[in-house]
Amino acid sequence: MTMMLNIVPDRCTGCMHCELACSWVQTGTFQPSRSLIRVNVFDEEASYAPFTCLQCDEAWCMNACPVNAIDVDGDSGAKIVSESLCIGCHLCTIACPFGTVYTLPLTDTASKCNLCGGQPACEAACPTAAIEFVDADQGGDWLEPWAETVNSKYVAASG
C-alpha cells in the first residue's frame, strides 16, 4: 500500500506545529529551517497550507537520481533517500515538480519526507487535523478542488 499525507488547507491556522515536529524528528531540536514539511503563508488571502512530498507513484526524484539513492519503502510506499548512497548532485531537488526535496546543510546530501516509518510526526502534532495520513488511493486529488476554489477567487476578483 502507498500512504500519503493528505492536506486539508482550510483547517490550517499556520501555527507551524508540523514543522516543529518534523524538525524534531530530523535533528532532535526545534528547527523549522530543517523541516521537510513547510507551511506556506498567503498573507493577503489569509490562507495557510503545509506542503510536503506527495510520494508520487511515478517519482521524478527517484528517476532522476544517477546512483539509485532513492528507494521505495515496502510498507508505506514512501520514497526514501539513502544518505550513504547519495552523492549530493542535487538532481532530485531539480526534478521534483513540487520543490519538496531539500539538501542538508552540513553534508549537502538530499533529504525528503519519509513518512517517519509509517507514523508521521507532523500528522500527530497538527492541532486542527489539517494533515491526514491516508491511503494514497483514497487521499489523492485534494489539490485539484482546492486549486479550483483559489482560482475562482482570482477569476472573480479580476472579473
Partner: protein
Amino acid sequence: MGGWTGKLLRVDMTAGTAVPEDIPQEWMEEYVGGRGLADRYLYEEMDPTVDPLSPENVLIFATGPLTGTCAPCGSRYMVITKGALTNCITTSNSGGFWGPELKFAGYDLVMITGASPTPKYLFVYDDRVELRDAAHLWGKTVGETEDGLREELGIPGLRTCCIGPAGENLVKFACIMNDKHRAAGRSGVGTVMGSKGLKAIAVRGTGGVEVSDGDAFMKALWDMRGEMIVNPTYEAFGMFGTASTIDLTQAFGGLPTRNFQQGQFEHAENLNGNTIRDTRLTTNKACFACTIACGRVCELGEHSDKFLVNTHPKNWKQAGEGPEYEAAWALGADTGVGDLDAVLKANWLCNDLGMDPISMGSTLASAMELYQEGRVTDEHVEMPLEFGSAEALVRMTEATAYREGFGDDLAEGAKLMGEKWDNPDVFMGVKGQEFPAYDPRGFVGMGVAYATCNRGACHLRAWTPGFETSESTPHTTDGKSEWVVHEQHRSTVHDSTGLCLFTGFAGGTLETFVPLVAAATGVDYTLDDLVTIGERTWNLERLWNLKAGLTMADDNLPKRLLSEPHTEGPSAGVTVDLDAMLPVYYRERGWDEAGVPTEEKLVELGLASM
C-alpha cells in the same frame, strides 16, 4: 543547557555597534528568562529616573526558554523598558513569529542602548548582525516596512518587528508591531524605539532551539496538550476569539462605556465574538506553535468604502487581524461607537500605523468627554467629537498617529491631555496608562489589580473576572487582594517562559508546564520555584519603580471608580473600596504600609543586595 541560547545581543545605537555576549547562568536560573531576565538587566543597566525618551533609556527584547519550542503557544517575546506613556517599568508582550525567529538566530535577548541621529534598522541573519540605514523606510507604515524589508533582503522566512509612523512621531502609546498585526502594545514601547531611531529589527534564524531532556519534554508536551484540548475555553477562544468576553462584561455591568460613564453598552452585540464570526471573519490565525488560534482575520469586503481616510493600505478590503476584545471595547463601547466596520477600520489603522488601540480608544473617549463637557469645542477640532461618532473614531485614529490637528493632543495620552484641558478626571487609568476593558465597579477585584500593576493599568497581570464570577462574588472586596497577589506571580512566570498567557485560561495552567520548563532548561524547577521566581520578578519591578520615584500614591484609581457608582444595570450602586483592599495587598506581599518591600521579604527572595 537547553531552552536558552545563553546569548544577548547588545546594540549600541550611538556607537552603531551590535555585539553578542553571554548571559550569566545564575541570572537565567534565578529569573527563568523573558520578562524576569530582562527586568534583571534593566535594573543593572540603567538609572530608573532618566527620561524614557532619552538615549539613556534601555530597550530590551526578551524571549523565554520555551519560545521557539513546540510548547503550546510558545511564541512570545517581551519588550522591557521605561514606558514613554507611564514613566515606570513596562513589560509588553507579543506573539506572532518574530520571537521564535530570534531564538533560531541564536539569541535570547536583544538590548538596545543609546540613540542614533539617523534612522537605522537592525539586520540579524544568524551570526551576521548589522545596523543598516533605514532612511528609505522612515515614514512607512508597518505593512509597507515589513513588505519593503522582505523585498529588499529577499530572504525567505524573514521576520520583522518594527514601528509605524506613530512610533516615529513619538505618539506616547506607540506599539512595536511584528508580523504586521501582532503588537507589543502597551505603555509606549514603540515610542522608545522611535526615540532611538530604530525603525525595525529584521531577523532570520536557521538554527534550532535545543531542549535538555527531549523525552521528558515531549511527554510533558502531550500531557499539557491533553489538558488543553478538553478545556471549554480552549474551544471558545478558537471559535469566537477573545471578543466573546464582551458577553461576560456586558452581563455583569463591567463593560466600560463612554469613558466609564456607563457599565453597559447598548450596541455590545454588534461587537461581540458571534457577530464578528458571523459577519466579518475570514479565518482564524495562529501564532507560532499555538494550538488555540484565537487570532481573527477579518475582511471588510463590500463595506470597505465606509469611513475613508487619507491612509490607504495596499489591500483596503481586508481589514487584517482583529479586533481582539480589548480593541473592540476601546474603539467601540468606550467611544460609544457600535459600528463594527468603523471599529475594524480603526483597529486596522492602529496596527498599520503602530499604535495601541486600547490607549487610542480610551484617550479618544476622554477627549469625547471633554467635548461633551464643552471644554473642547468645535473650534478646536476638525469634526465634532461626539460619543458614538464612527467618522471621528476612524479619522482621529489616523490624525493621532500623524499628530495632525487635535490628534497632537490625543497623541499625548489621556492623562496629559486631561491636564492640558483642565480636567484631569477624564483620564481613566493608573500610572499614566489608560484602563483596559473591565470596569472595576462590575468586577471589584480589577480595582486592586489595576492599582497595583507595575506597568500601570493592565488586565493581563491578574485577570479577576473569571475568579469573581465563579469562586467569589464580583462586588465584594474579601479575598480579592490575596487572589491578585497570587495571580500576579503566576502570570509573571508565563511572561518569563515565553508561553502565551492564554494557555493558562485554556487548561494549560502553570502546573501543566512546570515539567516543560524543567525539561527544556535542565534545571530541576518545581511549581514553588517558579512561583517564587514570579514573586522575585514582581518585587524587582517594584523596587525599580520606587527608584524611579513612584510611591504608594501611584497605586490609586480615578475618582470616578472610587465614588461615582453606575445608576443602572447589574453594577448599579457599586464603587471600589480600594482603601479596604490595598493594605491587605501590601500585607499579603510582605511590604510595609507605604508599599515598600520589607528587608525580610527581600532577603527571602534573594534580592537583599538590591
